[in-house]
Symmetry: none
Subunit: 219 residues, 2 copies
DNA sequence: CCGCCCCTCCCCCGTCCGGCGGAGCCGGAT
DNA sequence: ATCCGGCTCCGCCGGACGGGGGAGGGGCGG
C-alpha cells in the first residue's frame, strides 16, 4: 500500500541550498520536491499554485523574509501546508518569530541530512516539530519577550506620547517645543511625566524603553 | 586523450554546502573532490597533505577564516593551488580582501552550478579568474536587498563598542566608569569618540542609532 | 457646582553632559 | 628608530537636563 509522496516546496534565496535540499529529499521515495522559490513573495505564490504538503522556508530572503511569507501563507490559504523554518545560526531570535508566525517546525541548516528527512516526514503527521537547540533558544527568547507590552503605554496622555516619540527620535527639549509649538517649560513638564510613568530617570532610558516596548513601531 | 581530473578541496563549515558542492562538482567527469575541511586551519593542513589543484574556500569559518587560510596556504606552499573564495554575502570588503590575499577567483554561493564548474575549469588554466561585472552586479543587488549595516560599527574600537552598549542600556557616564573599572574622564573620551563616529550629538541619539543599527542584538 | 484631569507656563537649583585642549603610556607597523 | 592608533586620565566651561515647587485655564463627569 503505497501512499502518495509528500509534496514539498523549497524557499531559499541560495540556489546552492535549494539544490542540496532537493538532492537530499529527492533521494527518498516518499518525498517529492514539486517547486522552488528564491524570495518570500515567490514562495507565497508558488505555494498558492502548487498546494504542497510541506514548505522548507529560509528566514533570510529578498523581498519578503521567510517569517512574513509564512504569515501570509497561513493567513491566506484554507488548507495551508506545514511550514518548517530553516536558518543557519542558532543564536538568531528567529525561533520565536517563526513559531509566532505559525511555523510548524524550526531547524538549522547544519542539521544532518537524515534529520532533515525525518523532520519532513514527522511534520506532516504531527502538529509541531522542535529541536533541542530551537527549544533552548525559544526558552531564552520567551523569557525576554514575554514581559510583554508594558502597561505604562496606556497611561500616557496624548501630549506625553508625542513628547516620548520625539524624545526617542533624539530631539532636545527646545526642538520638541518648537516642533509642538509650545513653550520649553511645557515640554519639561511632559518629559517629567513621561519619565515618571515609564519609570526611567532620563531621556535616554525613556527612548530605550520606547524602543523596547515597540512604541516606535506604532505607526 | 584523457587528462587527469582536476583535484579539488572544499573548505566550508557547513556540511550542507560541502555536500552540495561535492554533488555538483563530482557530476563532472573531469573534476574530482579529493578532500574537505570545516575550518580554516583544517583547510591549510588538508591542502598541504593532498596538494589539490583548486580549493573552494568559504570566507566565514571557525578558527581561521578563509582569507587567512588563503594567505597561509599561498605563503607556505611551493606550488600552491588556485584558490577560489566563496561567500554568501557581498556587502563586506571580502572581494578586496580575497584578491589581496592572493585568491585566484571570487564567487558568490548564489552562483549557478554551471558557473561554478566553469570557474573551476577556468581557474586551473588561467592566472586569474575574474567576474568583475558579475560580482559588481550581484554586490549591487545584494546591497539593495540587504541594506548594509551602517559603516560606523566597524570603525568603533573595542572600548568604544563597550561604552556604546552601556550607553544604550541607559547608564550614566559615572555608572559606565564603575562598570568598566576606569575613570570617568576615560568614559567621557570614549563617549565623545562614539558620538563622533556615529554622527550623533548626544547619548540619546547614539542609543537610538545603536538600536536601529541592530547593534544591541549583537550578542 | 465642584472636583479632577489635562495642558499650558513660570521660577530656582544642582547635576550631568558634551566640547575644548592637553598629556602619558603602550604596542604594532613602518 | 619613529610614527601611529588605542587606552588611560586631567581641567575648564557653557549649556542642557531633571527635580522641586507653583499657577492658571479648559473640559468633562459626578
Amino acid at each position: 500500500m503505497t501512499r502518495p509522496p509528500i509534496r514539498i516546496v523549497l524557499a531559499d534565496d541560495e540556489r546552492l541550498v535549494r539544490t542540496a535540499l532537493r538532492a537530499i529529499l529527492s533521494a527518498e521515495p516518499d518525498l517529492e520536491v514539486v517547486g522552488e522559490a528564491a524570495t518570500g513573495a515567490e514562495a507565497v505564490s508558488v505555494v498558492r499554485d502548487l498546494g504542497p504538503d510541506v514548505v522548507l522556508m529560509d528566514v533570510r530572503m529578498p523581498e519578503t523574509d521567510g517569517i512574513r511569507a509564512t504569515e501570509q501563507i497561513l493567513a491566506t490559504l484554507d488548507e495551508p501546508p506545514r511550514i518548517v523554518v530553516v536558518t543557519t545560526f542558532e543564536n538568531d531570535s528567529y525561533v520565536y518569530d517563526a513559531l509566532r508566525a505559525g511555523a510548524a517546525g524550526f531547524l538549522l541548516k547544519r542539521a544532518e541530512a537524515d534529520l532533515l528527512v525525518q523532520a519532513v516526514r514527522l511534520v506532516v503527521r504531527s502538529d509541531s516539530l522542535l529541536f533541542p537547540s530551537a527549544v533552548r533558544a525559544l526558552a531564552a527568547e520567551h523569557a525576554r519577550v514575554y514581559p510583554a507590552p508594558p502597561a505604562w503605554i496606556a497611561r500616557l496622555t496624548g501630549r506625553e506620547s508625542e513628547v516620548l516619540r520625539l524624545m526617542a527620535a533624539g530631539l532636545t527639549n527646545a526642538e520638541i517645543a518648537r516642533r509642538m509649538e509650545v513653550g520649553p517649560a511645557t515640554v519639561k513638564t511632559h518629559v517629567a511625566a513621561v519619565l515618571a510613568k515609564t519609570g526611567t530617570r532620563d531621556r535616554t532610558q525613556a527612548a530605550i524603553a520606547a524602543y523596547e516596548a515597540g512604541f516606535m513601531k506604532t505607526r
